[in-house]
Structure formats: structure tokens, C-alpha cells
């Protein structure tokens, strides 16, 4: 904000609107955000109640996206005034609610995200673009021969040592999660065969490369890409947050788990410390009244029909929605257009609900909120992602590692506690998916408690990008 004169100029109207309002300023916190996602779930200004244990407001937080407030023509004062109206008793705004109040990870934005990957072919057909074209760089991050070569040569060195001690297993497993179009797998395997030929230990014969992805559509593409590696490659449709159920057979066997741009796309809660007390952020998705009316008119439905139709879409997908409501959606494309319209207009209200003891909050099914304590204790008033889905996946991944195995993961990571005090890290929308940066220090802390060292490094293959590379390997 210090670098933007326009943003600084927006500060005055924001303050004036606050002073003009009836809000009790002693109970009002103001947060100035700088939301880098072009598409997200926020209006320029929003009011978040800070609840007491009895769920009555104990204060409010006004959050303003200064980036949008700085745009030409933005009326920050009007946006703030509208947001402050939510503090009025009984205020519900002109909104079509899509869900009740829930933690962020339980919001319908995640079923939207899941649907995007499940029905990607239908989405892409309607937009005329592949999902990779919708990524910030216009392509997937992983297909670099030099990086693959380094990893493979490290493996050869380790395998040679184990073989010399007669401790090398017969089967050599490598697992890739989030396979994209198969480019990484192809590059890696092609390099492997070549390097193995030169190395002369015939490791390729023993290699099993497992490709896992949530999207069968994506996996099919990847399979075609590596078809020439035949029986050395297997493709598995799997949920990254429940790996133990699908690849549990790999426990203690994987020498390398390679993960690319999966974690930022998994459900996350947020927690906050406000005046020393810990809160869980609850969200509630809605469509603004104007947007809802527009969708209703476009698709010839009542405003009241939008929420149930959306719920049905998320349950059965666009194809079956079209079949079940043919009068409204005569073909799949029409159902996809409805999906895209709702997604584009979707916003989230937020509120802070006090947590009565971190141990009562489940970060993952196997992990309580106690894991958050050192991070929350270190930062004073702060709001941060819990990265539940990423942590769940990471929790399930570490046991897969052979005692000398490692995880290499490219993703959007925060890498320092302080970042949550100074920046906005999601959620945002990428095409039809939901994206959050991943709480790197939390993964690091968890790994440390499990005896692994985690380090972060810039993603070498695309200098200047926000992507970081996480490496995890046994410490003791």
C-alpha cells in the first residue's frame, strides 16, 4: 500500500465512511488487505463479526481490499458504508445464501473445486481453453530435465549404497501426486532410462512410477504421455487428502514422492488470534442480490431456485443436471454456463467464532489444534491458514517414505510466520478452482514433530514465480 498513491488516497474515504457511520469505533478493527487474486470471494469491503461464546457479536472487523479500492472509479466510502450496514441488528443484506455458517474447509467452494477437476472436460469444452492455459504462467510447472536429472542421480547414489549393504528392496517406488498432463512423468522417466543405461545397475527394471491424480480426465492424458514406459507406470485416481486408503501399500517403500501444485488446491480453514483469543473463521457463501437476479433472468429460473440448483449441480455434475432439469438446461453446456455464472458471482461472508481450547479443534482427523499453538503464540494478533487438506495429505505422505526417501513438492507456500501479518494468501479463484497459499511453517512444524527436516527453496525452473520447492527428509 505504501507504494500505491491511489491506495493511500482510498484510505481517507474509508476512514470518513467509518466516522460517518453509527458503528462503535471502540469495538471496530480495520484490516487493509491487498488481494492479488483477480477473481476471489470478496467484495471491496466486508464486515466480519467477532463473536462471543454465546454467538452474539463482541466486536467487528472491517476488511477493505485496498487494491480494488485504488482502482479508478472505485467508491470506497460507499462500499464501506454498505459493509457497515451488516452490523445493524437483523441485517442479512440482499443475498442468496448458498450454505450455512461453516469452517472454511467445509464451504461449498470446495465441492465447486472438486467438481471443476471431475468435470474438467465439460468446463474446458465450454471455455475453449485447457486448464493449463488458465494458470498464471499458462502452463504446468513441472517438466524440467535438469531438475529430474538431479533427483535421479541422488536416487542412484542412495540405491548404490543400499545395494552395497544388501538393503535395497527389489521394488523401487516413486510416487507422483498431481500429474498434470503427464509432462513431468514423461520427462522424469525418459531421463531415468537414459541415466540408468549409463549407470549400468538396471534400476529401471525394478522401478515402479505411480501417478496419482484426483481427476480421471487429467490422469488419462498423463497415461497417454507415458504410454511408452509400459508396465513401469501405473495411474491411480486418488484423493490427496486420503492417501492412506489408496496407496497405503506403499508405506515405508517410496524413495521419492513428487508433488506439484496439489496442496494449494485443497480445503483450508483459517484461524485468528484477536486480542489474545483464538478464533476459527467461519464462512458463508452467497450471491449478491444483483448477481442472483441476473443469473435467474439468464437461465429462466426464480431467485429462490438458484441455491437448490447449485446444490444439485455440486452433487451430480453438469451432465446429470442437464438430464434432470432439461427445461432449464437443455444440454450439458447450458448447465456448465450456469455453473460458471454462479461461480463467478460467488462471495463469502465471514465471522470469527471463539475456539474453546485448541485441543477441541481437529486440524485433520488425526491431529488436534495443539499443533498450531507455537505458531499462534509467536505472532500476537494474526490470521492464518490451517491448510487442513495439505496437512492431511502431507501427514499421509510422510509414512509412505522409505527410511531414506524424500518428498519434493512444488507449490505456493508461505515460508515465514510473519507473512500472514503482512500479506493476503487466499482464497482466490483460478478458473473454476479454489486456491490458497499453503502454510509452509505449519507443514515444517508438523514434519519436525515427526522427525523430518523441511526446507524451502525458490522454484528453480521458473525464476521470479511465487512457487516454492519444499523438500522433506528424515532428520534423525
Amino acid at each position: 500500500m505504501r507504494d500505491s498513491a491511489a491506495a493511500q488516497a482510498a484510505f481517507g474515504p474509508m476512514a470518513e465512511a467509518l466516522f460517518r457511520s453509527d458503528a462503535d469505533l471502540t469495538e471496530m478493527r480495520v484490516v487493509c488487505d491487498w488481494i492479488q487474486y483477480r477473481n476471489n470471494f470478496r467484495d471491496t469491503a466486508m464486515l466480519r463479526p467477532v463473536l462471543a461464546a454465546d454467538e452474539t457479536p463482541d466486536g467487528y472487523e472491517l476488511a477493505v481490499d485496498m487494491r480494488r479500492g485504488a482502482r479508478a472509479g472505485a467508491d470506497v466510502a460507499a462500499e464501506v458504508t454498505t459493509a457497515l450496514a451488516d452490523a445493524s441488528p437483523g441485517a442479512d443484506g440482499d443475498r442468496v445464501w448458498l450454505e450455512p455458517w461453516v469452517p472454511g474447509s467445509a464451504s461449498c467452494v470446495w465441492p465447486f473445486n472438486a467438481l471443476y477437476w471431475q468435470a474438467l472436460a465439460a468446463w474446458e469444452k465450454t471455455t475453449g481453453k485447457t486448464y493449463e492455459q488458465a494458470l498464471p504462467g499458462g502452463e504446468s510447472d513441472a517438466r524440467n530435465a535438469a531438475a529430474a536429472r538431479d533427483l535421479i542421480l541422488d536416487l542412484f547414489k542412495l540405491w548404490d549404497e543400499l545395494a552395497n549393504r544388501r538393503a535395497l528392496p527389489e521394488e523401487l517406488y516413486v510416487l507422483e501426486l498431481g500429474v498434470g498432463n503427464g509432462g513431468q512423468a514423461r520427462t522424469w522417466l525418459d531421463e531415468f532410462t537414459e541415466l540408468d543405461r549409463r549407470h549400468g545397475r538396471d534400476y529401471y527394471r525394478r522401478l515402479h512410477y505411480l501417478m496419482g491424480d484426483y481427476s480421471s480426465h487429467v490422469l488419462d492424458r498423463a497415461r497417454e504421455e507415458v504410454a511408452h514406459h509400459g508396465e513401469h507406470v501405473s495411474g491411480l485416481v486418488l484423493e490427496a487428502t486420503r492417501l492412506s486408503g489408496s496407496v497405503g501399500f506403499l508405506t515405508g517403500k517410496a524413495f521419492l514422492v513428487y508433488i506439484s501444485n496439489v496442496y494449494d488446491n485443497l480445503p483450508s480453514d483459517e484461524v485468528a488470534v484477536i486480542r489474545g483469543r483464538v478464533y476459527l473463521v467461519q464462512v458463508r457463501s452467497f450471491l449478491g442480490g444483483g448477481a442472483a437476479d441476473e443469473i435467474a433472468a439468464t437461465f429462466g429460473v426464480e431467485r429462490a431456485d438458484i441455491a437448490p440448483l447449485t446444490s444439485r449441480l455440486l452433487r451430480i455434475g453438469p451432465e446429470l443436471l442437464s438430464e434432470s432439469v432439461p427445461a432449464t438446461f437443455p444440454d450439458t453446456e447450458r448447465a456448465v454456463l450456469f455453473w460458471q455464472a454462479v461461480w463467478a458471482a460467488l462471495r463469502q461472508a465471514e465471522r470469527y467464532v471463539p475456539l474453546e481450547g485448541l485441543d477441541t479443534y481437529r486440524v485433520t482427523p488425526a491431529l488436534t489444534g495443539e499443533i498450531l499453538r507455537p505458531l499462534l503464540a509467536a505472532e500476537g494478533d494474526v490470521r492464518m491458514h490451517v491448510s487442513n487438506g495439505a496437512l492431511s495429505s502431507f501427514t499421509d505422505t510422510l509414512p509412505l517414505l522409505h527410511p531414506f526417501g524424500r518428498v519434493v513438492c512444488h507449490d505456493l507456500f508461505t515460508t515465514g510466520h510473519e507473512q500472514y501479518r503482512t500479506g493476503f494468501f487466499g482464497p482466490g479463484k483460478y478458473d473454476g478452482s479454489t486456491v490458497n497459499w499453503v502454510n509452509g511453517p505449519l507443514l515444517q512444524l508438523f514434519a519436525s514433530r515427526r522427525g523430518f527436516d523441511v526446507s524451502f527453496a525458490p522454484f528453480k525452473e521458473r525464476p521470479g514465480s511465487n512457487i516454492k520447492t519444499l523438500t522433506a527428509q528424515v532428520r534423525d
Binding site: 549393504r165 538393503a167 528392496p169 515405508g252 485441543d359 488436534t368 495443539e370 499453538r373 507455537p374 509414512p399 522409505h402 527410511p403 519436525s448 514433530r449 515427526r450 522427525g451 528424515v474 534423525d476
Partner: protein, 355 residues
């Protein structure tokens, strides 16, 4: 307890290593290492936790109980922090379970006869229960692997020096009434070529200490994960020279294949049979436990068999740990009843209650 006709237990059940450490206890231990609670408070917390652990074992029907090693931050530091001559520059920890960075810059002082305090730990447990008590401590080889420094030109000399220190401690324990001591070597499996040195050191520890001695070798249980993989072949034949009465090995997780080694090398003493997988939260059924014991009986006479988990239950939730112990006792009872039926007049032989 089911005594045989000479009053001895058949297939006595016991525990290995640390008992389940609940999350709240982990948090309090860390609070201590971050100087937020006093040593006195932590001692009192540990005593309450140990009482509960002993009670859990008694309620489960465990024949030979332990203190659950709940005072210990991990398998190494509790000892290194007490051994004269071991330098630990930074004693604060961000997490209690982390290892210290320990150094030995000069040979350990052999004339310093001060104790490590293990006898007092034993005495506390002894007065809590009428059951027999097993007391365990980490062996010299594993302790040496977490020490750096150039005090000894030959690393084996450090192992031997640590063994002499532990021998003093074992004598104190025996003087305090301990009659069943176990040496844990959790690091040995990672250094299979060092088995002879480890056994030599074990013999220094046990020298002149008239108790039943057990030696526990596992594949590691740090963070509920094996540190190494392989088979127990590396122990043999070196371990045949160990002056111990019992070898305590893990079989539940790894399978029973290595039982053949006991027969192949004619292991002459007792076997502590790991029948509970401590790295899995899935609770074994009594039938599964019984099946594992029956399989072991194909290789070892009942009088030479003791039943225990593979290793410590530390990383399991308290409820899971309790249920596993109950299953172990119930499974053992099944086999005991079968042995009674099959051979009522000669159920077993054994040299003493433990070994």
C-alpha cells in the same frame, strides 16, 4: 498370573519402552523445556502420569509392569543429560522430543561415581504396585550414536566408557531391589556391522549385577516409524555371547520369519516376543495375538517365552494403547489355556520368572 506347578508364570506378559504419551503431557514437557514450568512441577506431573500408566497396565492384566518411561523426553537425552562428562550446550528445546546436541570433549571421568538417579525412578515405581517391575534403560551403543566429539580416538572406547557408567547404575538399581533390567539398543539395527561391539558393551553393563537381564533390539520407533529395515540376521552369532537372559525382539510388524534365527542359532535363553505392532493404531484381536504366540511356540518352548509389544506404545493414543494391552493379555490367556489343556502336567520349563 498363571503359575505352573513350580509356581512360575507361563507366558508372562510385560511391556517394552515408553507407555503412551498423551498430547497434554507432551505439551507440558515442552513447556518445561521452554522454561514455562518448573522442574518441580514437571516431576509432580510425571509422578501422576506414571501412577496412571501403572494402573493401566494392572487393569489390563500385565504381569510385569514398568513406569512407562514417562519421565524421559526421548530414548537418549534423559541419560546423556545425567552422565558426568557429557556436555550439552543448549538444554532448551523447541519440542521436548527433539534430541540434544551432546558432546564429549574429554574422556568420561571414571572416578566420578555419582549416580544417574535411575534407582530412585525404580523405587518410585516399586512402591506403586504389587506386580513385578521391569526397569529399562538405553544401552551404551545407542547412547554413543548421539554423542559427537573427539575425546576418544576409537569410537568403541566411548561405547565401553558409557557401558562402565551404566554398569555403576545397574548396580545401584540392583541395590535398590530391581531384579529385572532391560537394555534397549534402538540404534543397533542401523549399524549391523557393530553388533559385536554392542554385545561386548552389554556384557560390561551386566557384569556383576545379579538380576535377570533382557536385551531389546528393534528397528527404531522414533516418531512411530522404523528408522531402518532388514532382518535380525545381523545379531547372530554375535548376540550368542551376550550375558543376558532374554532377547526382546519385534515380530508383529515385521512378521515371524526371523523366529527361525532363534532355532537356527540355538539361542539358549529366553525370548521376549513382540506380538503388538506399536506403529499401527489398529488394535490386534486376541486371536491374532494367540496365533503369533502359537507360531513362536514352534521354535521356542513356552517356559522360554515372554509376551510383549514390539516396542514402546509411546506414539499411540492412550485409549489405543490400553486396548492393545488388553488384547495382548487376552490373546496370551487363550494360549495359556491351550497349553494347560494340552499338557497339564508339564506346562513349561524356565530358569526363573523372567528369563
Amino acid at each position: 498370573m498363571i503359575p505352573n506347578e513350580s509356581g512360575r508364570l507361563i507366558l508372562p506378559t510385560t511391556v517394552v519402552g515408553s507407555y503412551s504419551v498423551p498430547e497434554w503431557l507432551e505439551r507440558l514437557k515442552t513447556e518445561y523445556y521452554q522454561r514455562r514450568i518448573s522442574a518441580q512441577h514437571l516431576t509432580e506431573i510425571h509422578e501422576v502420569a506414571i501412577k496412571a500408566a501403572v494402573k493401566d497396565q494392572e487393569r489390563a492384566g500385565i504381569d510385569i509392569v514398568s513406569d512407562g518411561e514417562l519421565r524421559r523426553d526421548n530414548d537418549i537425552d534423559y541419560f546423556l543429560a545425567r552422565i558426568p562428562g557429557v556436555d550439552i550446550a543448549q538444554r532448551a528445546k523447541s519440542d521436548y522430543y527433539d534430541y540434544y546436541e551432546a558432546q564429549v570433549t574429554a574422556p568420561l571421568p571414571e572416578d566420578d561415581k555419582s549416580t544417574l538417579g535411575l534407582a530412585a525412578d525404580f523405587e518410585f515405581t516399586r512402591q506403586l504396585t504389587e506386580q513385578p517391575v521391569k526397569f529399562s534403560f538405553t544401552g551404551p551403543f545407542s547412547l554413543s550414536r548421539r554423542i559427537t566429539g573427539a575425546a576418544y580416538a576409537d569410537p568403541a572406547e566411548l561405547v565401553r566408557a558409557l557401558a562402565r557408567r551404566l554398569n555403576l547404575e545397574a548396580r545401584s538399581l540392583a541395590d535398590a531391589g530391581a531384579d529385572f533390567l532391560q537394555i534397549d539398543e534402538p540404534f543397533l539395527a542401523g549399524y549391523p556391522d557393530q553388533a559385536a561391539l554392542a554385545v561386548e558393551a552389554v556384557n560390561i553393563v551386566t557384569d556383576g549385577v545379579p538380576v535377570t537381564w533382557a536385551l531389546h533390539v528393534c528397528y527404531g520407533n522414533r516418531h512411530a516409524r522404523p528408522s531402518w529395515e532388514g532382518h535380525y540376521n545381523f545379531l547372530f552369532p554375535a548376540v550368542l555371547d551376550a550375558h543376558v537372559d532374554q532377547l526382546v525382539l519385534e515380530f508383529a510388524r515385521k512378521g515371524l520369519e526371523d523366529l527361525k534365527l532363534i532355532e537356527q542359532y540355538a539361542w539358549p535363553a529366553s525370548l521376549g516376543l513382540g506380538v503388538i505392532d506399536v506403529k499401527s493404531a489398529a488394535v490386534e484381536t486376541p486371536d491374532l495375538v494367540a496365533a503369533r504366540i502359537r507360531r513362536a511356540l514352534e521354535y521356542v518352548a513356552p517356559g522360554r517365552l515372554m509376551i510383549n509389544p514390539d516396542c514402546g506404545l509411546r506414539h499411540l493414543a492412550p485409549d489405543v494403547a490400553r486396548r492393545k494391552l488388553h488384547a495382548m493379555v487376552a490373546g496370551t490367556a487363550i494360549v495359556r489355556s491351550e497349553l494347560d489343556l494340552a499338557s497339564p502336567d508339564s506346562p513349561s520349563t524356565g530358569d526363573n520368572n523372567y528369563g
